[in-house]
């Protein structure tokens, strides 16, 4: 393009003009809307709404500050018995989920065909009305119901009231069971607990009143089950002199907080738990009853500490220290899950961890483990409905081409499922896909209809099937709260969509007709005598609960489970999957984890979380891999470089991901750790294309005996990217390069008091005794 002098003048003139006149420009007039109805709250005044955080299953008690109907701030509810005033980073960020500029605020109808690589994002959709949407979806359901109701599928991540209402709808339609998109490790945990304690709920732990906590893979200070409550409980336990030993392949926040970190090889937590059981049994510290139940579950003689040290690749001295501390403890408790659950051996590993509590005799005791469900929403609201099935069941139905209508609410299976399941392709084969969601997540991008869902701050909320267990009071705690703000746009509660869809169906076998969520809650709670004396009391109880933010069960003692149930023996955990000899050379073992930044992926659309430097690998606005200095040197990368991960052992078209790299002093050589929950295709401007979704590397690895993928059994090749896509945003100096430490900062430095060394002992091991994971490089 020829550039004329005149253009140049124009251009520079324009630049100057813009610069000079910007301040003088007359802004568009802004008309301030005056509310028609007089509110009782004076304009500008703060109104604190007590409710529950719905960002994760923990259901912490919160108070939301609203001014003129806008949510301003989330604070912890100090009265709440488990969270006790704490809120986590993800909980705070709910505000930005609520006010995401790219939120779905009205029904969207797909306008361009669904196909791989087709137009995606908001561009593929056109706005529609709720009537249109409900008519279209309701019509499709009716048609499917007439033809073959088995071809209707519904997926949700809500195991509470909403899940029960969906189940009721499916039941009435004659469709198969609801698919519950729950955390994979919780599925494993529940399965293990079912056999260990006889109850299929994820156990709760009373860390505060224990005097020693043994962690097996469960990063309960990071993002596992109930991080706020556990963080507080652990802090109180340790302030009283309790000890915390944690086994996990990666140095998570939880491992960092431990008195002693046992950096076990992935998937060997079970072996460690078994060896410690052997120590307890040999010392005669277990009750007869406990020992009997334990031996029923694990009939084989436990391995000794030396074997465990070898299998786990941890210094024997460290295990011996752990064993000594364990024998000295009066009320130890073992917490198992998380990383331990998601290797091929996960079920047995978690069970071995859980079962230690049988030996400690702390099941159902203060300072121990509790296995008690909350309100049985399903039984109360959808009597006769089948138990929800895991996500893998949906995969099987889709593979068998058995689904014509797929309803997804409060879940993003396409983001969370392993790429090897090919859910995206399978879903593309379903004639009608409906996503009820507040943001354009990966599942919504494949949907024909995207219906705007309220976020939890806009909903009546109540804890699901996994209630928090109070550390002090004993019984389960139900968090409950009313909407803090009016819904944005036309967003609706997904369960109300279910009710609306039910209302549109002719002659349902069972009516699905509550006036709203709250009515369903009143009905369900009325039947639970732990919380309400009689059904008539229910409404008042809930009103009171919603004012306080919680309801505490009157049940005196935490449940010890049901020893008459389960009890089927587990296969001996063996630390599978790391037979190095059979591994492709130069591959590293993937260690996926949930970070405080993205959680399971829902946090990705919040600028606060995107810009939050991870506390251990301070990356912002991207996902990353953590490499040990040794592996980094071999690959030839430094902190800030970019790498490509390629699944090892598979064909040339194997999945690859590109991520920034952090060289971490704490990383186990032979492993490559990376956070989950990144790499959304859309999910709004703050998440779009940020980082990479680790599930893209997971193929068909399965947890043995459980319908969950074995994320920790993936091996990858890591290579340096010669041309980084962009600069990796690393906060400050990155990890592990403390050139000079100010006075009093050194971890080994015993600053003021004489006893300083023993809370944070130096975990030194004789050089050479601890090898590396795989040693395959």
């Amino acid at each position: 393009m020829p550039l004329h002098r005149r253009d140049l003048f124009k251009a520079s003139g324009a630049a100057l003009g813009v610069a000079l006149l910007e301040g003088c420009a007359r802004p568009e007039p802004v008309y301030i809307e005056q509310p028609l109805e007089r509110s009782t709250v004076p304009p500008g005044a703060s109104l604190w709404r007590t409710t529950m955080c719905g960002q994760c299953e923990a259901g912490c008690g919160i108070k939301v500050r609203t001014v003129d109907g806008n949510a301003k701030k989330i604070e912890g509810n100090r009265e709440h018995p488990t969270s006790r005033g704490g809120v986590c980073a993800l909980g705070h960020s709910a505000l930005q989920g609520l006010y995401d500029p790219d939120r779905v605020t009205m029904p969207l109808r797909r306008t361009s065909p669904r196909a791989a690589g087709a137009a995606s994002g908001a561009g593929a959709f056109a706005p529609a009305s709720w009537e249109e949407a409900l008519r279209a979806v309701g019509g499709a359901i009716a048609a499917a119901r007439d033809a073959s109701p088995a071809r209707i599928a519904a997926v949700t991540g809500d195991d509470g009231v909403a899940g029960a209402i969906w189940s009721r709808l499916l039941l009435a339609l004659g469709a198969p069971a609801l698919v519950l998109d729950e955390p994979f490790d919780r599925l494993v945990e529940r399965s293990a607990a079912h056999r260990v304690f006889g109850v299929a709920v994820a156990p709760s732990y009373d860390l505060e009143r224990a005097d020693m906590v043994l962690g097996f893979g469960a990063a309960f200070l990071d993002r596992w089950r109930s991080p706020v409550a556990y963080a507080r409980a652990l802090a109180e336990m340790r302030a009283r002199g309790g000890r915390f030993v944690h086994a996990e392949p990666r140095l998570s926040l939880t491992a960092a907080a431990a008195d002693l970190w046992l950096p076990v090889r992935s998937g060997t937590e079970g072996v460690l738990a078994r060896a410690l059981a052997g120590v307890v049994l040999a010392a005669g510290r277990a009750s007869e009853e406990g020992a009997a139940r334990y031996q029923q579950l694990f009939p084989v003689t436990p391995p000794d500490l030396e074997t465990a040290a070898r299998t786990c690749d941890v210094a024997l001295a460290r295990l011996e220290t752990t064993a000594r501390a364990l024998l000295a403890a009066e009320r130890p408790v073992a917490v198992a899950g998380g990383a331990a659950a998601l290797s091929r051996d996960g079920l047995a590993s978690v069970a071995a961890g859980q079962a230690l509590n049988l030996l400690f005799g702390v099941v159902g005791r203060p300072g121990g483990v509790t296995v008690e469900g909350g309100v049985d929403w399903l039984a109360a609201l959808a009597p006769g409905a089948a138990e929800p099935e895991p996500l893998a069941a949906l995969r099987r139905r889709l593979e068998a081409r058995e689904v014509d209508v797929l309803l997804v609410a409060d879940a993003d299976p396409l983001h969370r499922a392993p790429a090897g399941w090919r859910l995206d392709e399978l879903v593309r084969g379903v004639p009608l896909v409906v996503a009820i969601t507040s943001a354009l997540d990966d599942t919504a991008l494949e949907a024909d209809w995207v219906l705007p869902a309220q976020v939890d701050l806009e909903r009546f909320v109540v804890t699901g099937a996994h209630p928090a267990v109070a550390t002090a009071g004993g019984g389960p705690v139900l968090s409950v709260g009313r909407a803090a703000v009016d819904p944005l746009g036309e967003a609706r509660h997904p369960a109300e969509v279910a009710l609306a869809l039910a209302a549109g169906q002719e002659q349902l076998s069972t009516p699905v007709s509550w006036q709203g969520i709250q009515e369903a809650v009143v009905e369900a709670l009325g039947g639970d005598t732990r919380f309400v004396a009689s059904p008539r009391e229910s409404r008042r109880a809930i009103d009171g609960g919603a004012r306080a933010g919680f309801l505490v069960a009157a049940a005196p003692a935490p449940s010890a489970g049901d020893s008459s149930m389960g009890g089927e023996a587990f296969r001996e955990p063996g630390g599978t999957g790391d037979d190095d000899a059979s591994q492709p050379a130069a591959s590293l073992r993937l260690v996926p984890f949930e970070s405080i930044k993205a959680g399971d992926g829902r946090g990705a659309n919040r600028p606060w979380l995107q810009e939050l430097p991870d506390p251990l690998a301070p990356v912002m606005w991207a996902s990353w891999v953590e490499l040990s200095p040794r592996d980094a040197a071999t690959i030839g990368v430094q902190t800030g470089d970019w790498v490509r991960l390629r699944v090892a052992g598979s064909s040339a078209d194997a999945a690859t991901l590109e991520m920034g790299c952090i060289v971490s002093l704490s990383a186990r050589p032979g492993t490559v750790a990376a956070p989950l929950g990144h790499g959304h295709h859309d999910y709004g401007r703050y998440a779009r294309g940020r980082g990479a979704n680790l599930m893209g590397l997971v193929h068909d690895e399965q947890v043995e005996g459980c319908d969950a993928p074995a994320l920790l059994d993936v091996r990858v090749f890591v290579e340096r990217l010669a041309r980084p896509p962009r600069k990796l945003a690393v906060y400050g100096r990155g990890l592990g390069d403390s050139e000079h430490l100010p006075r009093g900062w050194g971890a080994h430095e015993s600053a003021p008091p004489a006893r300083s060394a023993d809370t944070r002992p130096a975990a030194a091991a004789p050089a050479g005794t601890e090898g590396t994971e795989g040693g395959s490089r």
Partner: protein
Amino acid sequence: MTRWGMVIDTDRCTGCEACVVACSAENNVPTVGEDDAAMGRAMHWLRIERVVEGEFPDTRVRFVPVLCQHCGAAPCEPVCPVYATYHNDEGLNAMVYSRCVGTRFCANNCPYTVRTFNWRKPAWPEPLDRQLNPDVSVRPAGVMEKCTFCVQRIHDARHEADADERELRDGDVSPACAQSCPTQAIAFGDLADPESRVSRLARSRRAFQLLDDLGTAPGVVYRRGGLDLEETVMGELPLPGAADD
């Protein structure tokens, strides 16, 4: 006379960064986006410093939340040419945003590097702006900012106390970071009152201050490295280091 201060127990802190997000939410701290963040322009008023020592498997990590120390002898103050950052009579190092001309001299002279600068006009695309705290001004481009000890909450608490015709009580003021901390690692109060919680916590043998040898007289006290209780519940845990040897 009040002297607002804070005590942070690093033995309690797990590095969960709830406090960091709480602070941003309370104080309208903007996010800057990936490119600027990569240049070191993230604006958090509070950061979690990591102290990492030792290589696998002997790595120890300690987290130290670092915010403005509200120094009694604040090096940031005398260098400001326009008195935009000054000391108030309750021990706060305060900022008058509208007076700041953006020389960034104060930031250079803060030994804790806690001051952040608005390199660009902050943006909250609608409806994110609905979350903004009306009690805290949004700072324009070219202006310095930093932790205020949530001064708006101090004012609120005082107004409430005045309305109830009483004095401020210990615990009436809780900054956003302290409020949200799941482990209650952060305590806030009047260091001039020997009976206040912070004063009691600060008298611990475990107490220390960051870079106190510089003479900045910080208003933040840290605690670390030991137990106050002489008797532990379960007796002595043999030192792993010793056992390993």
